[in-house]
């Protein structure tokens, strides 16, 4: 018994619930029996992967749904043996090169070459190319991205690459220009609501529209999250109530907690406590940029407009530094300290004004 999010995943391009015009365009794209390299990008929970799988099904038929997992072995130039888990069907292979960290270049070079160099044996009624799906391309190292660009041109006859990314900003322009970029925006709140309603209908449940809206707002327009939350709500309490409490993800709660700590007291001692919270967030795999975003969102609530700008600009600056640097905690803490300094001054001034 799968979770709703996986159970009710659409499998056909035309059955997709939103961005239907885009789905139609994609269908016409593959009907020409060929397509260029694709770079699919959009926020998490917008349905990138779902859309791609639909596309592949359109291209190869239901055979792509017969998936198997394989572990592939590679040897780095420094004689280090690395393994990577791949998901493949007869027609495509999906890999997440960032799993091997800095050795992603090796994976890309070897794997893509392997796949591209082998021709389809049974080409009757089949496509002449295989598809390689690379996940999280924006997290690839620069080396790997450069390795990719040559391969893309060289083996274009035998393989197509579908690159999936959250944002193209960290994909090098050389790759961007070699691909057809497809942006998949996050569904709007109403779209999320409609999806939730359809899912609930399929499950035989009635979902009050207020609750659906509440969930969609809470989920940050992330459909996956919305569906998971919805299911969690059902587990929590059924039949649904319109004013039912929507369980927020723990990490979001935690960020909020941290933010309130920062607002409650500005002192070096508090800074030390905040640090522990930040560490906890990082340990639990919350991406630091999301921590930044979450904190900023919470912290600016109490600020006046001028300060909001100031804080936001600082957050942006430290977030940028975080990306350039190694240790996220340094930059998070720097931001927190900065905010504390600004906020304390602001408070003192306002108190001073009051008297």
């Amino acid at each position: 018994m799968s979770l709703w999010v996986d159970k009710h995943r659409p499998k056909d391009l035309l059955k997709l619930d939103f961005h239907k015009d885009q789905a139609v365009r994609l269908k016409s794209l593959v009907q020409q029996s060929d397509f260029p390299h694709l770079l699919v990008y959009g926020p998490s929970g917008a349905g990138k992967k779902t859309r791609i799988m639909c596309l592949l099904r359109e291209l190869y038929g239901s055979g792509v749904e017969r998936l198997r997992q394989e572990t592939m072995h590679f040897t780095t130039p420094s004689n280090k043996k690395i393994e990577i888990m791949t998901v493949s069907s007869n027609y495509h292979i999906e890999v997440n090169p960032t799993d091997v960290g800095i050795y992603d270049r090796v994976v890309i070079m070897d794997l893509v070459k392997n796949v591209a160099q082998t021709h389809q044996i049974d080409s009757s009624g089949q496509r002449e190319f295989k598809v390689v799906i690379l996940n999280e391309v924006d997290d690839l190292t620069k080396d790997a991205q450069h390795a990719l660009r040559r391969t893309m041109e060289k083996y274009v006859a035998t393989c197509r690459l579908i690159l999936i990314a959250n944002s193209v900003s960290r994909v090098i322009p050389a790759i961007r220009s070699r691909c057809l970029t497809i942006r998949i925006p996050a569904p709007t709140e109403s779209e999320v609501c409609s999806v939730l309603q359809t899912v609930c209908k399929k499950e035989g449940l009635t979902l009050p529209s207020e609750l659906a809206l509440k969930i969609s707002k809470c989920s940050d327009r992330n459909l996956r999250r919305a569906l998971l939350m919805c299911e969690a709500c059902k587990v929590q309490q059924y039949p649904f109530k319109a004013d039912q409490k929507v369980p927020e993800p723990d990490w979001q709660l935690f960020i909020k907690e941290t933010a309130s700590m920062i607002l409650s007291e500005q002192s070096p001692k508090k800074l030390g406590e905040v640090r522990q919270k930040l560490y906890e967030l990082i340990i639990h795999g919350v991406p630091p940029d999301m921590i930044f975003a979450g904190l900023l969102k919470e912290l600016v609530i109490n600020c006046d407009m001028a300060m909001k700008c100031q804080v936001a600009s600082h957050a942006a600056m430290f977030e940028h530094r975080m990306r350039l640097g190694n240790k996220a905690i340094f930059h998070l803490e720097a931001f927190v300290a900065k905010f504390m300094a600004i906020y304390k001054k602001f408070i003192e001034e306002s108190v001073g004004d009051a008297f």
């Binding site: 799968s2 979770l3 560490y279």
Partner: protein, 1097 residues
Amino acid sequence: MSKSIRSYFTVIKKQTTKIADDDSDIIPESPEIRVKKKKQTKKRRIEDSDEEIFSPKKKKVDTEQKSAHISPKLKEVTITDLFGSGKIKKTESLVVKNKSEKQTEIGIHSDEEFEQSLLELDTIDYISPGKVKSHKDNQEKDIAPDEPKSNKDVPKVKISPPQLSLTEDKREVKPKKHHQTETKLKEKNDKRTDNDQNKNSKKQNKNDKIIEIADDDEHDEKVIGHKINNSSVVEKPHAINKSKIRKRDLSSFLEEDDDHDTSFKKKKHDDSLNESALSDQERHERKRLSASLYQKYLNRTGPKNLGAKEIPEGAPDCLKDCAFLLTGVLDSFEREEIIDAITKYGGSVKSSVSKKVTHVLAGEDSGPAKTAKAESLGIKIINEDQFLNMITELSKKNKNKKSNTNDKPNIKIKKSDKNQSPQDEKSKRNHEKTTKDKSKESLNDVKKEILVSPTATITLKNDKSVSLKNPIKKERSVSPKANITLKNDKSVSLKNPIKKERSVSPKPKIKKEILDSYGKLKTKKSEEEVEQIDNVDNSSRDASLMWVDKYKPQSIKQIIGQHGEASNVKKLINWLTKWYVNRKAKLPKPNPWSKNDDGGYYKAALLSGPPGVGKTTTVGLVCKELGFDTVEFNASDTRSKNLIKEQISELISTTSLSGYAKGVTGKQAVTKKHVLVMDEVDGMAGNEDRGGLQELISLIKSSSVPVICMCNDRNSEKMRSLVNYCYDLRFSRPRVDQIKAAMMTICFKEGVKVPGDVLSQLISAAGQDIRQTLHLLSVWTADPTLTEHDKLQKEVQRVKKDIKMGPWDAIRKVFSAEEHKTMSIIDRSDLFFTDYSLAPLFVHENYPQVVPHCPKHEVLDRMSKAVDSISLGDLVDSRIRSNQAWSLLPLQAMYSSVIPGQQLSGHVGGQIQFPSWLGKNSRANKMSRLAQTIHAHTRLSTSGSKSSIFLDYSSHLRDAILNPLIKDKNEGILKSLQVLEEYHLLRDDLESLTELSLWPGQRNPSILIDAKVKAAMTRTYNKQASALPYAPGAIKKAKHLDTDENGLEMDAEDDLENDSDPENDLLIKKKKMKDLEKASSSKEKPQSSKGKGKKTK
């Protein structure tokens, strides 16, 4: 050489005969002089009255002895013999001649004169009562010198004026080494006033003197005499030393002389000392005297003319090799001043009379016991002025030593010393010629003059003394010198007239001095050469050695800090001696915590301790002492498994023939007593020594000889296996004062002056490393500018800086406002470089604890600036690591350490924490690994990326699995298993999921599950053979590999960071261990629950 002496003697013999002829000329002595003499003696008498009371008999006895001495038969028993250990045999013939004359003298003298002469004799023969101590130095000296010198002459002079001159002359001419002091000369001069008056001699020289002396009052005389005295005394030490040390046998008269010199002060005590048997009365007298002395000591005043004189500027180390004993109250210096001066010039001050003491510096009221002992040891007793002269003389000597290297040092010295001396030299030579001519014409006259003239005698004697000394020195020294002296000797008779002629010059006394010093310098020179040769011998050997080797302990006792009963040396000796016995007696393995283990069980000893505390030295000396031959292997030898097996085991089983090499013969020469010394065992690592330690251990197990291993860090990973087979001897650093004492000795030996406090600082700066301390000291001595206290102190500071600092110490300094005051920006960035990989982490970890010294409202502002800088530092760090741009490190130092330190300049409020980033980072890595596994497993049914597992799936999946179990208990099992199957999750993944989704402050939902339900669920899970898209075994393997992979990742990260920091490595290991534990525990858990389930069934 001896020939030269003989030839000298023969010349003199001839002279004596001549003198005998001239007796009549010289005989007359002025009554004035006599009166003077009498006065003096009377004075003395008055002063000496106590003694006279109790020792008249003695004196008589002594005089008898004296006469006996004079008589040829009893010659052997003379007191001079006893004291001078003299071999008068050499001069026998002369003595015999004297004797006949003396006998006649004795026969002639009148009663009154006899009494006086007896007195004199007494003083000469040490039996004369000591002078009362209240005598001033000057007085003492004034009177004293004439006694020893004229020991036999003076009485004779008084006995019979006509004969006096005769004997005197003879004396003078005699080759005896009697050193003539100027007082004597004066006396003679005085006497000669008679002569002159009577004879109307032509000599202007004498006239001058006469005039002078006649005009001078007593005091002046004293002063002059004193001056001369000083110079002569300065000369004497050398004569004495030489004679004592080198030619005791050759020149007994010299010693005699010395004895006279040294003894003139405390005759009384000589008396008491020399008299083996004392009468009761005498004892009582002595007691009384000592009591009175003590009273005097109690009441004694300070220096009378404090500040009247100044201590002359001397060359540094001019008093080197001199050891002084101070006694009594000096005339114009405080005791401390003198001590300071002595130490300043490299001499040492002793507190008691011993053989080491070279000079006794006696003042007024000097301790009789000390002086007496000094006399008995033949130590020179000098007074204040002599001491001052000594400084100037010796420093001059030092200078000359440096400047003179060729064969004409004498002349040069003269030039530098005295203006007149070159003239002297010339005139002497000229006169050698002229006198040769003259001598033919009026040889008799000239000779008379010579003999009469005091200057002549002086030169004569000096020359003689020189000639006597030189031959011996010539054994080593350059021979030309000897020739020169010989020449002088020969020319003595010829030279004298010159002086008479030259006596026209207004400063006859100075001339005397010059002459004195001439001889003096010569002797000195030759002495120096001997010393130099000695030094060359030694220094050529020593100069090439480092101090560490030069002053290496030669015996066990010399090892610093190893004297106690429980010291390692004792333990090692004990262990080594009992080794063979212990092998037979099978001892149980001792408790590792037992304190008084003698290591009998162990076949090997492991000496561990920091470098430079004497481990190797200890082993070497202990083995030497116990007669073991050492077979040593240290880090410079390859000590791989094979080599140890083949070479060392062979070496150990052989017998040693080293005894033959040492000259031991017979059975003892061949020994089977070996010790295998494995030095620096902690250095047995790397490819070279692969398997060496294991082989060493097996060698120890099978060894038939003792094995001694040495290492620095006993607790290091490498030593862990070896430690179990070794008797543990830990060397700790010796205390500072222990090292300091030894260092002081060495400094003294090297003539280096390092203040005590600086030395202690140096030792502690070097971390009580004896070797390093020695090296530093020897470096200091190489730098001549390092003499001032302040400079040395600075140097110590510099040394301190080189000592390694840990990050804990460094981080305190980074934020310390105090330290910032004295530190430059470079110094501060150096703090970062104590460990550039850890320092930024330390700074980041500890900055919130810092209490900056600034207004309170600024604190947060500063703090934010500090972190801002830290975050910039991280950017630099990332650039450094990714681009290998190590040249950016100084920039990182600024951002990550210096700027935060400056912003938060204050003090660290709490304990310095170890950077938590390292731990947190590894935890984060672990979590991401878990997420990755789940991601991989659920890949087929989910679409999201790894972070979506973290953020969204983990908690919902967990709930989907656990909630049915919690709510429906056993009925929910199927439901939850369905979820697992759907997502292709393994049982283990459930644990990971709970871990991933658990936040601090939350309750672990799996606790809510009934243990029975859990067990049932596991059972059903195991029963079900669910089809997985991946091979679970492979996955398990993959999981392990996964961890490996993660390890690799970590390694990669490390590579990225180029982080050689061991902590990181350790963390990786720990983490792996944890993982394994986790894995095993998670595996065990179901099993145990299974067991429970069975039980319940």
